[in-house]
Symmetry: C2
Subunit: 596 residues, 2 copies
């Protein structure tokens, strides 16, 4: 059952929700209008649909394997990566100065979604490379940039992010990897890193590890962490590869999903010390790492959207083909394709509405990123940066938590066949479960949303967004259609629930931190739900207008229906979340520790 990239919906979101034509007015993005977007998406779709997606099941049944320090990836991955590289896809969003194509994230994000819909395991390699590129762009010296950036941006070399250690996962204060300064300005790195995605593989000739470590004598905790580049192979002055560095893969993990993506344990310095190069200044590693993390978090959100769409498409195909039972409304005499059954519709519509809502949210967030980084006006940059910062935990947290629901429904639509591995639906269910964990668990995203994004500015940014949502409600009410009325009502309820919780968070974060943080993930789910629903409300306004004008009527009507479904089935969840957050803070932490 093949994958078709949802180009039309992506372009709709870019054009009508993210205002791509406005993005294309930012200096440097002049060529990045709708036409470019369409051409890029079509090319990307070709590669994803015909090269990358067909390897997805093989990646599951013939995972990456480890022997003698070497990782062999799934047959076909190396060749596909070669095509990815030759197409210039790694450089899509990166600066032209270093060989990239310099396209806005608004367009690039759609390509990331497609790649992940096709094959999360494959897509992880470029995603990690993106993180390394971001870190070097932000904080790397000219020399580091000159040595590494071009090769990373072409995709000839890949990147990896080395944060986690056995005792240090979410809590990076506990990092123990050690860096000893050398007389020549380099460092020798010693330690063990675990859970390193594509930390070792055979798809590229070099791997550029970005490594958190503690310089000898540095302060304890997060203030003593520095960031280093540690290449698998040292690089000679002429850019050619030199000696093998002292970093070695000692094993890879046996995981529930994303099996083609090797998850390495890397040992640094067992033979005298791995040579590392400081990125930026000593003890500022966490700050730089957050830049990588923020890019990666957004990317993981796109993974959630991608796998959701893929699960949806497979479920639709199955529901059209599988004949079973008579429809309850008697519309078909005898047994019918199960897509005629209301509960199958409910499942498919839930999958569809969540996926489109999250895509709409992520696309508008991407446009904010572009403006935040490239707009000539500092005020515009600042406002967009605030908006984008608020969106990152939502894109990451809400899209990935929702992907668990969507991929579960995908299995469920298949009935018993969904549980049989050959069908393919189960793989999405297994793959998706990592998305709520890596690059910061949902709780970590929620802490960010509560602490840095809501409480710190007294809820100002949150309330600004609520005010924008209220404007969309007014427009919906003014339009007068039944679908718009339904959306306005549910948006209003959800926005009011959101504001109740914002007040609770802001008011109690200091006095009752346990009660507030007990509600942090529900708050994230409420907010993500609301913001995605808001974008669906905006989409509804555009679509009903277009449909009335006879433009692309089938697509536009479908958007209206999907938006109304989102309002009535997904936005309605927010009031219950509010109730549990406001009422339930105390009971969450009330059980005696030894009673568990």
């Amino acid at each position: 059952m093949s994958y078709t990239a949802p180009i039309k919906d992506m372009l709709f979101a870019m054009e009508h929700l993210a205002n791509l034509e406005q993005v294309a007015q930012i200096p440097g993005f002049e060529d990045a209008g709708l036409e470019t977007a369409q051409a890029v998406l079509e090319e990307s779709a070709k590669l994803c649909e015909s090269v990358v997606e067909p390897l997805n099941i093989a990646g599951d049944t013939q995972p990456s394997s480890f022997e003698g320090g070497q990782v062999t990836t799934t047959p076909g991955f190396k060749e596909a990566y070669q095509q990815f590289m030759e197409g210039g896809w790694q450089g899509l969003q990166h600066p032209a100065d270093f060989g990239g194509q310099g396209l806005p994230k608004t367009i690039g994000a759609a390509c990331v979604e497609m790649l992940n819909a096709s094959n999360i395991s494959f897509a992880l390699c470029p995603l990690l490379t993106d993180g390394a590129i971001e870190a070097l762009l932000t904080a790397g010296s000219d020399e580091l940039k000159a040595t590494y950036l071009e090769k990373l941006i072409t995709g000839e070399w890949t990147g990896s992010m080395n944060l986690t250690e056995p005792q240090a996962g979410s809590d990076l204060a506990l990092v123990r990897t050690k860096a000893e300064p050398q007389p020549d300005g380099t460092y020798k790195v010693f330690g063990t890193k675990i859970f390193i995605t594509y930390g070792e593989h055979d798809m590229a000739e070099n791997i550029v590890h970005l490594v958190l470590a503690r310089v000898v004598g540095a302060p304890e905790g997060v203030k003593g962490i520095s960031l280093f580049v540690v290449p698998k192979f040292l690089v000679n002055a002429d850019g050619s590869l030199g000696a093998r560095n002292d970093v070695h893969c000692v094993s890879i993990e046996h995981k529930m999903g994303i099996k083609a993506s090797p998850t390495a344990v890397l040992q640094y310095g067992d033979n005298g010390g791995a040579i590392g190069y400081l990125v930026g200044e000593e003890n500022r590693g966490l700050e730089y790492m957050f830049i990588m993390m923020n890019a990666a978090r957004y990317g993981v959100g796109m993974q959630g959207i991608g796998v959701s769409d893929r699960a949806y498409q497979r479920a639709v195909q199955y529901a059209r083909d599988r004949v079973q039972s008579r429809p309850v409304d008697g519309s078909v005499a005898g047994s019918a394709a199960i897509i005629h059954h209301p509960d199958v519709r409910r499942m498919l519509m839930t999958m569809r509405a969540i996926t489109e809502g999250c895509r709409a949210m992520a696309t508008t967030a991407a446009a904010a990123y572009d403006a935040a980084h490239h707009h000539p006006d500092a005020e515009v940059r600042k406002a967009n940066a605030e908006f984008y910062e608020f969106m990152v935990p939502l894109v990451k947290g809400y899209s990935t938590e929702s992907s668990l629901e969507v991929t579960s429904l995908g299995v469920q639509v298949h009935g018993g066949m969904g549980f049989i591995e050959e069908t393919g639906a189960a793989q999405y269910y297994r793959d998706a479960k990592i998305l709520t964990i890596y690059e910061g668990t949902t709780a970590i995203q929620a802490n960010d949303l509560v602490g840095r994004k809501t409480a710190r500015d007294g809820g100002k940014n949150a309330k600004d967004i609520a005010a924008q949502i209220a404007k969309t409600e007014e427009q919906l009410l003014a339009s007068g259609t039944a679908a718009a009325q339904a959306m306005a009502l549910r948006l209003k309820n959800a926005r009011e629930a959101f504001l109740d919780v914002v007040d609770f968070v802001v008011g109690k974060a200091k006095a009752s931190p346990n009660a507030v943080y007990a509600g942090s993930v529900p708050y994230l789910m409420l907010t993500g739900n609301l913001v995605a629903g808001w974008q669906m409300g905006r989409a509804l306004l555009v679509a009903q207008d277009k449909a009335a004008k006879g433009e692309d009527v089938a697509f536009m009507q479908a958007k209206v229906v999907t938006a109304q479904f989102y309002a009535e089935h997904i936005l309605t969840r927010t009031t219950s979340l509010r109730d549990s957050i406001l009422a339930g803070g105390e009971s969450t932490c009330a059980l005696a520790l030894d009673a568990f």
Copy 2:
């Protein structure tokens, strides 16, 4: 990380919610009081904890395998089954007349939960045998009973249920397996059955297949389906095993979970016809099958509760051990065990509250089953039968859907380690996904709840239950504690939401079937949530009373906290479900078919 059967909570539910002492007054159950229950549970726990649970991971890593028509189960399963059999566990709930122990379901269900918490794959074999026993007890001739029942009840032979065919899953009207009457009164059976759990294995010397087939010339659809016994080995007049029957396993499935449990494709009649024996009358097969199904559905509900408890216990153990980050309330200086973090608490409490709520619901349902089948007073039997019938789709549907959430949270508590297979948490997530599918998907349970259990009697039974819940609310309000007030409020909101939906279902089932059935699964989730919450409300009343009297204070206080958490975090979900059901019927089915 070992499993400890929750004997105390099981006995609490039996004693205080299901009123076991009253069950023990029913003729035949005189010995089945609390003392017996405790002794049985302790023995069962020994077997489960020390023999069955330790095989669970091996069942996943060394699944049942198929070669040359033979299935070899996971190493150790055969020996464990021997111990299970020798302990008399298969006969626990079956009549003493045929060698069983004749204990009430109220006690037996707890043993089923333990077995499934330990090892779902293993527990499936006895669960299927139970179904075969039920069918023969209900509809088998004396001869069939004499030939098969005793061996099934000892566990020397096992049973299987053969419903599904490639084209006939939820829709049994499409069954094509054919039965040709023979002059000697037997039938020759021809056809292919798929998804047959323990349809072939090496743990017992014979397998008694209960098979749905169509007698030649029978009416089309479900009214032409008959039920047959088709033994793997024919049985001689003296009870010894005779010739191999013409039913053969041709393959087993490669599944996402419950891998130790062989899921067979069975071929009937390739060599002249499998000899089958009619159960009951021709063309009444579906009716008998429903008896098996109802028993099995309840059993699958217990599987959901079992795997939820197991996932909870493993997550608690990990959360106590794993040290990471500083608590937000500053209660620990430096990094602490993650059980100190509010979001980890929220996840653990959610797992705990749902598991206890479902257990409480299932235990009270079991007591109703016992009274419905064995009480001397016909009125009492009838009232309990109605209650039990209403409970079956809830125990099956709500407990298993909830187990998806619970096992997902179980992985999440483990962070990255949860995604690594060796940890064990991922297996529960994979195993649980079948529970919402087999023995009738959640949609099938929901159709049953809407159609036969709610609309058919105009909502009478549903409203009777709501009236009982209202009485519990009054008791809670009268008690005056904060926990009881919180519970009363949330129960009231949930009950009112339930009644709104019952009116909607009853009022619109005929006129707007699509809108009603679009809300069927949300209605099931609302109702299961409410009924489990009601039992938690009753538990709260008992527990705060006991705690006040100084009886078993730690346990009773924990029950109060867990019940309050259930009220504030789980019961609060019902109002959103109501809103989506009442508003969302139209948008669910509004999308044009070709727009998906």
